[in-house]
């Protein structure tokens, strides 16, 4: 590793090698030392890895911006998609559909998830039921999203449980909710655990019931991390496609209530990307642009929310 001290080296005034076993070089940085060479090589490799990791985001955003952003117009955002082979049209129904399906999912997942999280953080005392719920939450988070679609298909679509309707916006929303619930439970659980115990004791100490303590003191104190997690969960759900393909299906028309098939941007992208018509492919890029914009905005909102807590 070390080259021995050369007599004329800059640090030669220093007595070299204090004891046996160690060869001491000068203090001067010598890039030709193998340890310094390795350092340079490995730093270079790590830098390269980072470049490769960041590149896809830049490229995807650039293409979505160029190919999708250039198409954005008022009519595109408000019209229905054209019939195959025809020009023009828009993605208005898919935008409304995505908002509707995501809203249904959020309306189901937020109460369920926050409630489950409250149980884990505030009521459970490390018993077997609590560890079962925690384990189940982890397993559910790992279930592939397409399987959620299969589940909801079997539970709702094939049984025609809602007024004899098979595919519906409701079914799609429930499938997305199944995906969101683990995220919301986890963030609620972790957010509540960050609340200092003194705050809880303080509220209980003035005679508040446990419910009042949770709803009026603990939950508001943990608002920021919970809200952050929920916003991220919604953003992720809004971009999901797999659970919607055979639950919400697709529709070339405006939404007709929550118990009918509905168009969403993600399914529109999937369906139109593999069509041989340029008009459809363009609409797929435009929908990508709108979807990515919405999701990035939600992510930035989540960051802002989480910084709100620190300030």
């Amino acid at each position: 590793m070390h080259t021995s001290l050369s007599p004329q080296a800059p640090g030669s005034r220093i007595p070299a090698a204090s004891a046996g076993g160690f060869q001491r070089g000068s203090l001067t940085f010598r890039p030709q030392l193998s340890r310094n060479r390795w350092n340079a090589v490995l730093t270079g490799l790590a830098g390269l890895a980072t470049t490769i990791a960041v590149l896809p985001l830049v490229l995807v955003l650039a293409y979505v911006l160029i190919k999708g952003g250039s198409l954005i117009s008022f009519s595109l955002l408000t019209q229905l998609p054209p019939a195959p082979g025809l020009e023009g049209g828009g993605i208005g129904n898919a935008i409304v559909g995505t908002l509707l399906v995501t809203a249904i999912a959020a309306l189901i997942a937020i109460p369920v998830g926050v409630g489950g999280g409250i149980y884990l953080a505030e009521y459970s005392s490390g018993g077997s039921f609590a560890s079962f719920v925690r384990f189940g939450t982890n397993v559910l988070a790992g279930v592939p999203s397409i399987i959620c679609g299969v589940f909801v298909y079997g539970l709702i679509v094939s049984t025609r449980i809602f007024f004899g309707q098979s595919y519906s916006a409701m079914a799609g929303g429930i499938a997305l909710a199944v995906l969101m619930i683990p995220t919301v439970i986890k963030t609620t659980d972790e957010g509540l655990k960050l609340v200092p115990q003194e705050l809880r004791l303080g509220a209980l100490g003035v005679g508040a019931s446990k419910m009042v303590t949770i709803t009026h003191i603990t939950l508001p104190a943990a608002f920021s991390p919970i809200a952050t997690g929920i916003v991220l969960g919604i953003a992720r759900a809004a971009g999901e496609t797999a659970p919607l393909i055979f639950t919400a299906l697709f529709s070339p028309f405006w939404p007709e209530g929550v118990f009918n098939p509905i168009a969403t941007m993600s399914v529109l992208i999937y369906n139109f990307a593999i069509m041989p018509y340029q008009a459809q492919i363009s609409l797929a890029w435009a929908a990508s642009f709108v979807l990515v914009l919405m999701i990035l905005a939600a992510n930035l909102l989540a960051r802002w929310l989480s910084q709100l807590a620190r300030a």
Binding site: R13, F22, T28, F29
Partner: protein
């Protein structure tokens, strides 16, 4: 206010006895100045203690002596730190090489999550040790007065030891790479009195072969272990609002505690301070 020993005019005989020499050192974290105008000659083969109130920059100065401050982003140093006359902050100096010559023991014991044996051997190996490793491990553990407690469990994790033992293991680890200087940043602040005593005894032993610089909060400890003492103090900045650390007085320990030349030193060592 600052008492400084002029290094430039030091006689040639004392030059060879000086190990580290600080020339007008100032250290800042970003735009926040932590310490300024430090002049100091740390003698070779002796124990030098840094004392002073919190926030006076004594740990910062200590960390500057082996370039540990490089790891803190935005930390910059003005002036010069000379090690046997060579500027440690010169452009062509390898910080890794500096730390191999000037070892450090930290405030909190920080053994590696490896076996006791590996804790010692790891540093020696990366320093290119070619000799008998078993012997080096034993010698280092003996020097740090922890051999008897650990000789039967060298394979066990270093993290399983008690706090005081961990700190002595960390000292053994530093001794094993045979540096010329050992820097100790409040090595006993996390330890009980008995462990503290053991470490102080060890410092007396170690000073036969090493130059030691120790930061301590405990004035009795400075009296017990050190030959020279530097008293750091906090001053209000003249130019802008805020405080900055500086070296108030640097003299033989006896003089600092019995006949300090500065009123502030007198106040601090007699406990009339803060």
């Amino acid at each position: 206010m600052t008492s400084s020993s002029p290094t430039t005019s030091a006689s040639s005989s004392s030059q060879s006895d000086i190990c580290l020499s600080l020339e007008n050192v100032g250290i800042s974290y970003g735009t926040n100045e932590a310490v300024r105008n430090v002049f100091m000659d740390i003698p070779k083969g002796q124990v030098t203690a840094f004392i002073g109130p919190s926030g006076c920059g004594k740990s910062t100065v200590l960390r500057a002596l082996n370039r540990m401050n490089d790891l803190i982003e935005g930390c910059t140093l003005k002036g010069r730190v000379l090690f046997h006359g060579q500027d440690l902050y010169a452009r062509d100096v390898d910080a890794v090489e500096v730390r191999r010559r000037i070892g450090m023991v930290f405030q909190k014991p920080n053994p590696f999550p490896k076996s006791i044996y590996e804790n010692i051997a790891f540093g020696a190996r990366i320093n290119g040790y070619k000799g008998d490793m078993d012997e080096l491990v034993e010698r280092s553990l003996r020097k740090a007065a922890i051999w008897d407690e650990t000789k039967d469990k060298l394979k066990q994790s270093g993290c399983a030891l008690s706090g005081g033992q961990q700190q002595r293991l960390c000292i053994a680890r530093t001794v094993a790479i045979e540096p010329e200087v050992i820097l100790m940043d409040e090595p006993c602040s996390a330890l009980d009195p008995i462990s503290t005593l053991k470490i102080e005894e060890m410092i007396h032993e170690l000073k036969k072969s090493y130059t030691i610089v120790i930061v301590t909060h405990n004035m009795q400890q400075a009296v017990r272990v050190s030959d020279m003492t530097g008293f750091f103090n906090v001053q209000a900045k003249a130019d802008i609002d805020g405080k900055v650390g500086c070296l108030e007085e640097f003299a033989p320990t006896e003089q600092i505690f019995n006949a300090p030349s500065q009123q502030a030193t007198q106040d601090y060592v007699s406990g009339r301070f803060g």
